[in-house]
Amino acid sequence: MKRALLALVLLAPLAQHAQQLPPDALLKGQNGSWPTYNGDYSGKRFSPLKQINSSNVAALSTAWVYHATNYGAGGFGAVIKSTPLEVNGVLYFTMPDNVWAVDARSGREIWHFKYPPNEGGHIGQRGVAMWGDWLYFETPDCNLISLNAKDGKERWRKQIADVKLEYFCTVSPLVVGNHIVTGVGGDSLDNPGYLESRDPETGEVQWHWNTEPAKGEPGSESWPNDDARSHGGGMTWMTGTYDPELHLLYWGTGNPNPVHAGEARKGDNLWTCSIVALNVDTGKMAWGYQVSPHDTHDWDAVQTPILFDAEFQGRPRKLLAQASRNGFFFVLDRTNGEHLLTAPFIKSNWSMGINAKGQPIPDPKKEPARNGTLVSPSSNGASNWFAPTFDPETSLFYVVASQSYSVFYLTAEGKAEGFAGRDDFLNFPGTIKAIDYRSGEIKWTHDIGSMGPGLLTTAGNLLFTGDSSAHFIALDPATGKTLWHAGIGANQTNGAITYELDGKQYVVVGAGDSLVAFRLDKSE
């Protein structure tokens, strides 16, 4: 109570002046804060802050540790996978069923919102979104909850997907103007994936985009029949990116269903395993690009589609790049979806080559089989949800990459539904790779032991990441050489963020159920 009062006192002067985060503020980028899941609309996770830099990083030391308690749930999901928002000196972050506000200067808890136990999937929670004075939180059982950022009190809740059909929700929504864009997850019972935009004040649906095209629409011909198309999957479980000039939203979609059995859904299965561009006001699709036609290996293409403007083959272009779970790196022109580059970032073995559109051609012999097929990558993928980063100063794209293998089995007897198969994981290697977006060339590889956490680059010539031995690490983004490391008590579980308060730059990282903040020692 004392804490809550203190928070009210702290926030009161601000509240008198303006909203905590007017949606237009997001158009200005990070501005020394971290107001969205990816820091800004581009998805680069590159911060212009450089007080902490390669020449002084050796003096980086712990500012505070926040240890979360009383979060219930437990299990694998009860770690901080969320990327905290930092707005006006307050961090907002989550675990499934839990939202916290913590003082970004001191790590002191301001409030804790707890959602009651529920049957939704508790595998992870990626974070909240903020619009004005309000936060938006997806619960495991697929309620979108609007909370007052001041005190964590619930304003309203709206169901955004049907948990009885095995949907579950984890996404950090994306705020664009007057839109709260929400994605959904859950691929065990052959449901369609979709994206929705909701009104920030009322939670009412503004538009609904379905992964599978409606009957007769372009792309519907990539399904053999209506039954397959209407049970085709393609979940939207990672936050997308946005280009304010083009007014386009970019989102990755997940695997088709039934997951491992492709027989009853012959065809490309649009728009599963795709990057799609939607008009943010209407939800109308401007273009789509499928990175895994007819996937049978669970390789969701939901990895952040990073937006940057740069030269490509001698021409300045508006680019979009994704290092996809299927092991290939793609560069597109984001104005129209024109394909520019496909290059492998691990040695996968499932494709027979690249077609004229730049898509890997799946080898039917590597589809899951009754007696097993040995496939790289595993269903965990060559990468997964761990945030990639693009550093405009090195012009390199960085990704957590795994040269993993699995034996994929088809198991369904009779009609294939749900996963209809499974894979037996062999190894779990993990590296950070630096990819030259112009050629796809791997400039360096840094071993982190296992599939790891999200990445962050800064203008201080630093790349922050973690290894699988509970270290938080700063690398030289040009060479991959380690410049600094610190034990943080548990493996890094989210993507680190950075912000500046009182002239001091902080770097904050999630490690299990703790947040650890670093800043330069006073002597610096």
Binding site: D467, S468, H485
Partner: protein, 298 residues
């Protein structure tokens, strides 16, 4: 080392897994399992495993007797149109039916069963009692659970290869014989593991993810390590942990020792390295043939 494997693989799962409901339920299941274990005194190892697996698969635990009773009603009454497995025939698929998935003990399917759907050609079954309909409901929920619980999926017969060719691969291309012997470490190997397990361990001798999740003790080969310190000392032992910054081992006397990698030179002899190197080289036929050969080692 076992612990290190466990933590590493588990953290990989924790961070990496695809978002599927089954896996998500496994998360919730882990907690349910923990609570159940705390309340229940001294369950046997078998019970522990069964409980953990049931929870790993997610969903509420269904009353098996009700499932069986429901099946006995469903098959002769409904199976002709909906299929005995409820996957649909001339009538709709009831496994992924919204109406059925929302049902609780017959509250949504009851009226449909009692009244039929004459407009769609479904006859009425007015004589089924409330209890019978509740059993049918439980049976249908069990069918959905069979689909969503992917870790319960049974893998079929995987021994399909040519054992003779597998023997050739073992001695030749695979270079398996340089570390293994069919009369030594691999004698009777096929009696020690189920075929699926053997296929995985043959490819890469690491524990099964589900076994690790269940906390099952898994034997892994010790890894030998030698550390040359800056002062010229040479220490050998069994690797405990290695990362970019530190290496630790248990020496011949059983003492734990750790060294900073800034100054020490480390030589690790990981027997899994040869397995890792072979992974990109196998064809699926090689894999199936080699398994068929190992399956002859009864």
């Amino acid at each position: 080392m076992r612990q290190a494997h466990f933590v590493r693989a588990l953290s990989a799962l924790l961070l990496a897994v695809s978002l599927s409901a089954a896996q998500a339920d496994q998360v919730a299941g882990a907690e349910k399992e923990r609570n159940a274990q705390q309340q229940k005194k001294d369950p046997t190892q078998k019970e522990k495993t069964e409980n953990a697996l049931a929870n790993l698969m997610g969903g509420p635990k269904l009353d098996q007797a009700a499932v069986d009773r429901g099946r006995k009603i469903f098959v002769p009454t409904c199976g002709f149109c909906h299929g005995n497995d409820a996957h649909g025939k001339s009538g709709p698929d009831l496994v992924r039916s919204t109406l059925v998935l929302h049902d609780n003990k017959g509250d949504t399917i009851g009226p449909v069963i009692h009244n039929g759907r004459p407009d769609r050609g479904m006859p009425a079954f007015p004589s089924l009692t409330t209890d019978q309909i509740a059993d049918v409901s439980t049976f249908l929920h069990s069918r959905a659970a069979d689909v969503t619980n992917r870790f319960a999926y049974q893998i079929g017969d995987v021994v399909t290869g040519d054992a003779r060719k597998g023997a050739e691969f073992f001695k030749g291309e695979g270079h398996c014989a340089s570390c293994h012997s069919t009369s030594g470490d691999l004698a009777h190997i096929a009696t020690k593991y189920q075929a699926v397990e053997l296929q995985r361990r043959m490819l890469y001798p690491a524990p099964n993810l589900i076994d690790m999740f269940l906390g099952k003790a898994v034997k892994t080969a010790p890894i030998k390590v030698t550390v040359h310190t800056a002062s010229g000392e040479e220490v050998s032992g069994t690797l405990d942990h290695i990362d970019e910054f530190t290496v630790s081992l248990h020496d011949a006397a059983g003492w734990y020792r750790s060294f900073s990698r800034e100054t020490a030179k480390v030589d690790v002899q990981d027997p899994r390295a040869a397995h890792e190197a072979l992974l990109p080289k196998y064809t699926d036929d090689d894999m199936h043939n080699l398994l068929a050969y190992l399956e002859t080692l009864k």
